[in-house]
Symmetry: C2
Subunit: 151 residues, 2 copies
C-alpha cells in the first residue's frame, strides 16, 4: 500500500514536470527557427515530409492532429520559401502531393543536425541507460494515458 502510494506520487511528479518541458522546449525550438523564417508549425510539416516522403495535406493534418486549413497555410508559406513544392498525385488526379525540394531537404537537415547536437548536450549527469529508460517509461505512460483519454 505504501509502495503504491510512492509510485502514484512519482508518476504524478512526471506528469507535472512534462508540462513546463513542453512549453519551454517549444519556446527554444521557436527561437532557433526564427533566423530560418520558420515557425514550429512549418517545421512540423517539414519533419513529416522528411520522414514519410511526398504526401497529401490531409495526411499531414492527420499525422499532426491539426486542422487541414492550418496545414495548408503552413504548406503555402513553405512553398513561398521554396522549401516544398506541389507534385501530381498518381493515385488521385484531383489531389496533389506535397514534397520537399532539394533546398528544403538541405535546410531541414541542417536544422535537425543543430537540434540533435543541442539535445545531446542536455542533462549531462544522466547516463545513456537513464535516457533509454526514460524513453521506455514515457512510451508506456503515453500508451496508457492515451487509452484513458480515448475511453
Amino acid at each position: 500500500m505504501f509502495e503504491r502510494s510512492v509510485r502514484g506520487h512519482e508518476i504524478y511528479e512526471i506528469v507535472r514536470l512534462v508540462r513546463p518541458l513542453v512549453l519551454n522546449s517549444a519556446r527554444v525550438v521557436e527561437t532557433r527557427l526564427k533566423p530560418h523564417n520558420l515557425t514550429v508549425g512549418m517545421r512540423a510539416v517539414l519533419e513529416i515530409l522528411a520522414e514519410s516522403g511526398p504526401t497529401t495535406v490531409p495526411t499531414i493534418a492527420a499525422r499532426l492532429d491539426l486542422a487541414r486549413q492550418g496545414v495548408q497555410r503552413h504548406v503555402n508559406d513553405l512553398i513561398e520559401l521554396g522549401h516544398v513544392e506541389q507534385q501530381e498525385n498518381p493515385a488521385h488526379r484531383r489531389s496533389v502531393l506535397i514534397a520537399l525540394t532539394p533546398a528544403g531537404t538541405e535546410r531541414f537537415g541542417r536544422i535537425r543536425d543543430d537540434e540533435l547536437r543541442e539535445l545531446s548536450e542536455l542533462a549531462p549527469e544522466c547516463s545513456a541507460d537513464d535516457i533509454t529508460t526514460t524513453v521506455r517509461v514515457l512510451t508506456a505512460l503515453h500508451r496508457d494515458i492515451r487509452r484513458k483519454a480515448a475511453g
Copy 2:
C-alpha cells in the same frame, strides 16, 4: 560521435513523447473532475492551497504562471462551491487570504487519492527504479531547457 547522435535522437524522442502526454493527461483529469463540478484550473488552485496553506490571489497566480484575473475567477467559483473562503490577511489590511474550507480540504483529498491510485496503476511493466530514473532525467532536462528558454 555516433554515441552523441544516439543520445540526441533519444532526448528528441522524450521531447516528442511529452506533448501528447500533456494533452491526454489534461483530458483525463478534466473528465475525472467533471462530476465534482471542477475544472483543471480550479483544481490547480485547490492544490496550491492544500500545499501552501492560506495565500493571496497574486501569489497563486505567480505559482501557476496564470493571469490574476483568471485565478480570481477560479477562486470565485470555488467560493460559490464552498471549497474555499476569504480570510483577513494579518500582514496586509487591504488584501485577503484565500483558504481551503474543511469541505474543500476533504473534497480535494478525495480527488487526490483517486488520482494517485489511478496513476500508480499506469505503465505496470516499468519498475519502481525505472520510474525514479525518469523523474531524475526529466528534472535535469527541465532545468536545462528552462535555462535555454530564459536565455
